[in-house]
């Protein structure tokens, strides 16, 4: 930044320099305010996980306590809802990422008829409002007399995760060097060995990213699940039910834990990436 200011061309007058200075800082001040706004509700969620509410409603600050964290599953139904959410998210992200990776491989590496139609089919679920996705699956299950429960939730979650997995893996595959595969084949590896020893390790980071994204989307989903859960309760459904009668502070505890785990993971990832980049430039 200082280098830019120092090398500013001499022809700029004092006024433009002053204007530049102000603009630099106006934007920075704005960014700080914007970050505060973005973080405000998150701060509220974390703060109120330590609240000691007087009545049913956890809206007014009335004293600090660690009890909610100590007895995080002290509310009936919370633990089982959380377990169901994690189970669904694990299974859905695995299946959706597998299906999505195959589609992404086909789209990036092969020319074939029907490519436009395939892209459209991937894009459509992303641009359909969730309520329509949920409602249409509901009518399918109703008309086929499917019993609502674990399987219907899982089917729904895999469905809306596939497109996200395709998009994520595809983004990384585009810069992929196909010569590496050709080299392996020239050296006598068959297609399967090439895929296992060359392709898979190279696209592993993309697959991991897709898995994490699908997991995050699945565990947060409310609308589609609400339409297709039947008697079962995932964590977001639990929050919805609890909100009507006053959500207990334990809900904030779980929310905070999910947030802290996700952010820690992301920060670690970003810092590792920065370190790699720095060692790459200094080497």
């Amino acid at each position: 930044m200082t280098a830019v200011a120092a090398s500013a061309p001499a022809r700029t007058s004092g006024w433009t320099l002053a204007w530049t200075f102000v603009r630099h800082h106006v934007l920075t001040v704005y960014a700080l305010l914007a970050f505060t706004y973005l973080m405000l509700p998150i701060g509220v969620v974390i703060a109120f996980s330590f609240n000691h509410p007087q009545g049913r409603f956890n809206f007014v600050w009335s004293g600090f306590t660690l009890d909610n964290w100590r007895h995080w599953d002290g509310v009936p139904g919370l633990r089982s809802a959380m377990v169901l959410s994690v189970e669904i998210a694990l299974l859905a992200s695995l299946v959706a990422t597998a299906l999505g990776t195959l589609i992404a491989l086909a789209l990036v590496r092969y020319g074939f008829r029907g490519r436009g139609a395939t892209n459209l089919l991937i894009f459509l679920p992303l641009s359909t409002p969730e309520i329509v996705l949920g409602a249409s699956l509901l009518t399918l299950f109703l008309n086929l007399n499917v019993v609502f429960g674990f399987s219907t939730i899982l089917i729904a979650h895999i469905m809306f995760c596939i497109s996200f997995a395709v998009v994520t893996v595809k983004a990384r595959l585009v810069g992929f060097d196909r010569h590496l595969e050709e080299a392996a084949m020239d050296l006598g590896a068959n297609e399967w060995a090439t895929f296992r020893k060359v392709t898979l390790p190279l696209i592993a980071p993309a697959i991991l990213a897709a898995l994490l994204l699908c997991f995050a989307i699945s565990i947060d989903d409310f609308v589609v699940t609400y339409f297709n859960a039947g008697p079962r309760t995932t964590f977001p459904l639990f929050v919805w039910g609890a909100a009507r009668v006053g959500a207990p502070p334990q809900v904030n505890v779980i929310g905070s834990v999910i947030f802290i785990v996700a952010v820690t993971g992301m920060v670690a990832n970003v810092l590792a990436q920065m370190r790699r980049e720095r060692s790459a430039t200094t080497a």
């Binding site: 509700p41 589609i103 409602a135 497109s163």
Partner: protein
């Protein structure tokens, strides 16, 4: 493998088949069922029968025009607010973030790491009648002494804006970050003022991000019912609330199904009008 070697052209289709089959069965076919259901008549107790009941659509539009209009209105305002809010922020990160860019980007996505419903409940806490925001606004005189924010359209639009912000900010950032700084320098070397260089170079180059962000924000916002439910009152209910209650509480499936299609049609009309206004080549480019 020898089979694959002989039929190399088949490989892409074999890779596509499982995933596309899945989307076919659990995305396309259900839409067909929804369309079928939307043309049925009858009631829940005696059962529904397919009768080409186009009247359902007419009833949906006539009976719930207010809800449809409100949904598009709230979604439109929230999208515009999100754009105004996110653009300077995305610009700041892209042009001033330096090597901290990716870390700063985390702040933008951070709201997504708190469960949707929980962060909406947090807004309920922030905007509550006895909360700090309402008290300050009352003291300053912007709100009446007994005025409130909850159960008003302000709260609902604010909730929608916040909840879908990352959808707007991320594509904006991506398109701003890709801009070649030399182009802006060239404009300034050619005696464009900073502001003019922004208007003539940076802004047009970031339009793909604006378009992507607008669509990614507007579409889910128009179908949302959570913000209206938790932060509003029945007066602020959107079409999503109606669809939800018709499906899950009143079990009036044909009405709910036809409303879902009217919502999709309304969104399509918006997207078409919008892409025409901005220029279609920018949508795909």
């Amino acid at each position: 493998m020898t089979f694959l070697h002989r039929h190399r052209g088949l490989t892409p289709y074999l890779l596509l088949a499982p995933g596309l089959l899945y989307l076919g069965v659990f995305f396309v076919v259900p839409l067909g069922f929804l369309a079928y259901q939307s043309l049925e008549s009858g009631n829940f107790d005696v059962g529904y029968a397919f009768t080409w009941a186009w009247g359902n659509y007419w009833d949906a539009i006539r009976g719930y025009r207010g809800h449809f209009i409100r949904s598009l209105e709230y979604a439109g305002i929230a999208t515009a607010l999100a754009l105004l809010f996110s653009y300077p922020l995305a610009y700041w990160i892209a042009f001033r973030g330096g090597r901290w860019k990716n870390l700063l980007l985390l702040f933008i996505v951070a709201p997504f790491f708190v469960t949707y419903l929980i962060r909406t409940l947090a807004w309920e806490t922030i905007l509550a009648d006895h909360g700090l925001v309402v008290r300050v606004l009352r003291d300053v005189g912007i709100l009446d002494p007994d005025g409130r924010l909850l159960a008003t359209s302000v709260a609902v639009v604010a909730g929608i804006t916040y909840n879908f912000l990352p959808f707007m900010a991320l594509p904006l950032y991506v398109s701003l970050e890709q801009i070649d700084h030399r182009l802006i320098e060239a404009a300034q070397d050619l005696y464009a003022s900073r502001w003019k260089a922004f208007l003539r170079v940076t802004l047009p180059l970031s339009l793909p991000g604006v378009v992507a962000g607008t669509l990614l924000t507007f579409i889910p916002a128009a179908g949302d019912f959570i913000n209206a439910q938790l932060l509003g009152s029945p007066k602020q209910h959107m079409i999503g609330n109606v669809i939800q209650s018709k499906f899950l509480e009143l079990t009036d499936y044909p009405a709910a199904a036809s409303m879902s299609f009217v919502l999709m049609a309304a969104i399509l009309v918006f997207v078409a009008a919008y892409s025409r206004a901005v220029g279609t080549e920018k949508l795909t480019g």
